[in-house]
């Protein structure tokens, strides 16, 4: 890879002046084909993947940025540096000389306004969900300094700041369709249903990217997306089907931060019995899926967050495939009076992820082999939501909800509360120890934080047997040979054009 990079630079360099200066790499326009059109280009909705992939850090920037390529953690973006004040609030020192694409100068009042907008009840910004249960006060110290105070104290506020896009103060308290930001690109054309075009800005504060113009196209069908890159109608498709990823020169797999699992509803017998939950885990032959229905590069999951996340616990080992042990546990449970004969329903969403039907059918077969009575039910997105989130229906039977969870933010706090705390909307159980660990970990910093998350992950997996964790999925991207780009775990939610090189 490195070799091709250099030779690419060589060729590009030869056509220009110098073979050595990276600043003189080729530049030009590219086309990117995405599965789903952005229905809005609202900065405060940029945490939604179909919007974020286009505008996040391209048009709208954030104060901080998470390094997903290296291990540098939270890095400065619009904030140059930050520190925690004595009262627990955070002070951000803003970059100077930054201009919005409408020409106005970026300062602390814009940050305040951006925050107000996110938290406003006049619009429903998605970014607000990361600040659930917090009260936030922003205090403009001077043009380039702002204090942000949260109640309770938020140790990972700098990380959270990578989710809040900054808009100019003049932005109205309603959804906008033409985002104004400080990023390297500005929106120059949006023909709904057809294309979105971003072009570089002359007055961008940072390094000039090599991609001068990016045209986004939208095709729902994965094989069409793959074909488009192959025929040259597009240069990059961040997600194609595993089946189409046959050309090693252009097709790359990448861990895409999506974790597939079966959420267990602990409230209903027989799933309230830990032996049954263990048996479920033991009955599934996860390894058999790899390279067949699930791509080779996928990782067997032991936690709901991917391995790149803080506090991920390498000591937790996934359940082996052991039908005999599963049967034995079931027999024990049955002997103890647990109604293991009750049919369990797996509820899955159609087209949730590639091969979802086949994978669920295979899991159903494997569970049946271990002696479970399992039914399978596929529903569309709206109906799936009613099974997945609280309030759960009264009088329901035992259910396993197949779902996919995405956390590319590097910290488990974006997942753990929702999925496992007693009050979490997708939590299938209530355990005081889990609640306590989540609360303490969320408030902790540094190694302590990592330790507590690790502890929680192990406890959930080994003792509670909270759910049936399956895979950390991989995605496939097709990148035209003229581009220098390698997808990362964040590619699903963010696609920084400035990271794309042209050969």
């Amino acid at each position: 890879m490195k070799k091709t990079l250099i030779s690419g630079a060589l060729i590009a360099g030869a056509t220009l002046f110098s073979a050595l200066s990276p600043a003189l790499a080729a530049s030009g326009a590219i086309k990117i084909v995405l599965p789903e059109e952005a229905d809005l280009l609202e900065p405060c909705m940029a945490t939604r993947s179909n919007i974020g992939r286009i505008i996040m850090e391209n048009v709208s920037e954030t104060l901080t940025e998470l390094d997903v390529r290296g291990k540098k953690g939270v890095m400065p973006r619009l904030a140059e540096k930050w520190e925690q004040n004595a009262d627990g609030s955070w002070r951000f020192h803003l970059r100077q000389g930054v201009k919005f694409s409408d020409g106005t100068v970026f300062d602390a009042k814009d940050v305040k306004h951006s925050f107000d907008r996110v938290m406003s009840d006049k619009i429903t910004c998605e970014a607000k969900r990361y600040f659930g249960g917090m009260t936030i006060t922003t205090n403009v110290v001077d043009d380039n300094t702002i204090d942000i105070k949260t109640q309770p104290v938020q140790p990972i506020l700098p990380l959270l700041m990578s989710l809040v896009t900054i808009v100019p103060e003049s932005t109205p308290m309603q959804f906008v369709r033409e985002p104004v930001g400080t990023g390297p690109y500005k929106l120059t054309n949006w023909t709904p249903g057809q294309q979105i075009v971003l072009e570089t800005r002359e007055d961008y504060w940072g390094k000039k990217p090599s991609v001068t113009k990016a045209t986004y196209l939208f095709r729902a069908d994965p094989s069409v997306r793959a074909a488009m890159v192959q025929t040259g109608e597009a240069d990059l498709s961040p997600s194609i089907s595993q089946l189409d990823a046959t050309n090693p020169k252009t097709d790359f797999s990448y861990l895409d931060s999506e974790t597939v699992y079966l959420r267990i509803d602990h409230n209903i017998a027989p799933l309230n019995d830990v032996r049954v939950r263990k048996a479920l885990n033991l009955a599934i032959d996860r390894q058999a899926f790899l390279g067949t229905l699930v791509p080779e590069g996928a990782v067997l999951a032991t936690a709901i967050v991917p391995p790149t996340t803080l506090g991920w616990n390498p000591d937790v080992k996934q359940f082996p495939h052991d039908v005999a042990a599963a049967k034995k546990l079931l027999a024990e449970a049955k002997a103890a009076g647990v109604p293991v004969e009750t049919p369990i329903t797996i509820i899955a969403r159609t087209a949730n992820f590639p091969n979802v039907t086949e994978i669920m059918e295979a899991i159903q077969a494997q569970l049946q082999e271990a002696g479970f009575k399992v039914e399978l039910k596929f529903v569309e997105v709206a109906e799936h939501e009613t099974y997945y989130s609280k309030p759960f229906k009264e009088g329901r039977g035992p259910q396993l909800v197949a779902a996919m969870h995405d956390n590319s933010k590097g910290d488990p706090s974006f997942s753990m509360f929702f999925k496992y705390a007693s009050k979490g909307t997708q939590s299938g159980f209530s355990d005081p120890k889990v609640d306590d660990l989540i609360q303490r970990a969320s408030a902790a910093v540094g190694d302590e934080r990592a330790r507590l998350w690790s502890q929680l992950i192990a406890y959930l997996h080994d003792d509670v047997v909270a759910d049936v964790l399956l895979f950390h999925m991989v995605g496939f991207a097709r990148v035209s040979e003229k581009l220098d780009f390698k997808p990362t775990i964040a590619t699903n939610s963010m696609l920084q054009l400035s990271e794309i090189g042209i050969r």
């Binding site: 229905d39 809005l40 609202e42 945490t47 939604r48 009840d121 006049k122 619009i123 429903t124 998605e126 607000k128 969900r129 659930g132 249960g133 309603q174 959804f175 906008v176 369709r177 709904p192 249903g193 057809q194 196209l217 939208f218 095709r219 729902a220 069908d221 094989s223 069409v224 074909a227 488009m228 192959q230 025929t231 109608e233 569309e380 997105v381 709206a382 109906e383 939501e385 009613t386 997945y388 989130s389 974006f414 929702f418 909307t425 997708q426």
Partner: protein, 304 residues
């Protein structure tokens, strides 16, 4: 004629109102747009706030009253997801669909009439057998299957045509080609059947007694008489195209109203669904009116 149009308009208006009422209430029984607009992790307060903002917390009848009030003033509401007037979203998409339907139906109609007529002229003959067989197969091939095979063949392997999207004339060829197949198969069958009976009618005998050649007998004497049932079927087929060629639009990334409709239905973007239905229903009504005018144009007995 004018009173006929007026009568039809009133009848259609009644249907339209019925349609809107049904769609309004039925669609609102199928789930909550808030939980689809917001991520699963969103708090109950956020969902509540979303519903509040869009008036979804009010009783259904109040919501309906407000909707009717808005519609009367020409406001079809705003798309929840796109933060744009629903009508704009729909008309944008509908323009594409309209062109697609128009071009496809013109091609289908002319091709089907020629093939169907020739098949009817020598019914039971070699051409008839081949044409019938091919049109039947065409009518029973799943369109998404055809679409993907066409892309693989014409775009990837032969590189003659772009895979999908819009932009040039070439972009239209594959979607139209795929949409062409099924209505063609059906209309050929109808033309053939209708022409067989027209060709065995008494006035064709008269024409033959006059020494008129086969060409004019088929395409002048018989065809115009045979067109009435054909037009009905053309109308039905065009209506289903106007309602959106969902599958083809999805695969070819064609920004038509079918894709918009299915997306809005799945996302419970009610205002867009209602606007889309309103616009397509209106279009279908106009088309039916046009078809009735065509009847009158073709058949003087209806005119008088």
């Amino acid at each position: 004629m004018l009173s006929f149009i007026r009568k039809r308009s009133v009848a259609s208006l009644i249907s339209l109102v019925g349609l809107i009422v049904m769609v309004f209430f039925l669609s609102r029984m199928t789930g909550d747009p808030a939980s689809l607009f917001l991520p699963v992790e969103a708090s109950a307060e956020m969902k509540q706030q979303f519903r509040e903002l869009h008036g979804l917390n009010d009783p259904l009848l109040v919501q309906f009253g407000r909707y009717v009030g808005d519609v009367v003033t020409g406001d079809l509401g705003e798309s929840y997801r796109k933060a744009r007037p629903a009508l704009d979203v729909v008309t944008e998409a509908f323009t594409w669909t309209l062109w697609l339907a128009l071009i496809t139906m013109s091609l289908v109609t002319s091709a089907a009439i020629v093939v169907g007529s020739l098949a009817a002229f020598r019914s039971g003959g070699f051409f008839d057998r081949i044409a019938s067989m091919l049109s039947l197969i065409g009518a029973s091939v799943p369109d998404f299957w055809l679409a993907i095979v066409a892309i693989v063949l014409f775009s990837v392997n032969l590189a003659w045509l772009p895979t999908s999207g819009t932009g040039s004339v070439l972009h239209w060829i594959l979607p139209i080609g795929v949409l062409f197949v099924r209505p063609f198969g059906i209309i050929v069958q109808v033309v053939r059947g209708s022409m067989i009976s027209a060709l065995s009618s008494a006035y064709v005998k008269t024409a033959r007694a006059k020494g008129v050649r086969s060409g004019p007998i088929i395409f002048i004497h018989a065809l115009r008489n045979a067109m009435l049932p054909v037009i009905t079927v053309i109308g039905d087929q065009a209506a289903s195209l106007l309602n959106g060629a969902v599958v083809v639009e999805t695969i070819f990334g064609f920004p038509g109203v079918g894709k918009l409709m299915i997306d809005s239905i799945l996302q419970r973007d009610f205002n867009v669904v209602l606007a889309a239905i309103l616009v397509t229903a209106l279009a279908i009504f106009l088309m039916n009116l046009l078809i009735d005018l065509c009847y009158a144009l073709l058949d003087p007995r209806i005119r008088h």
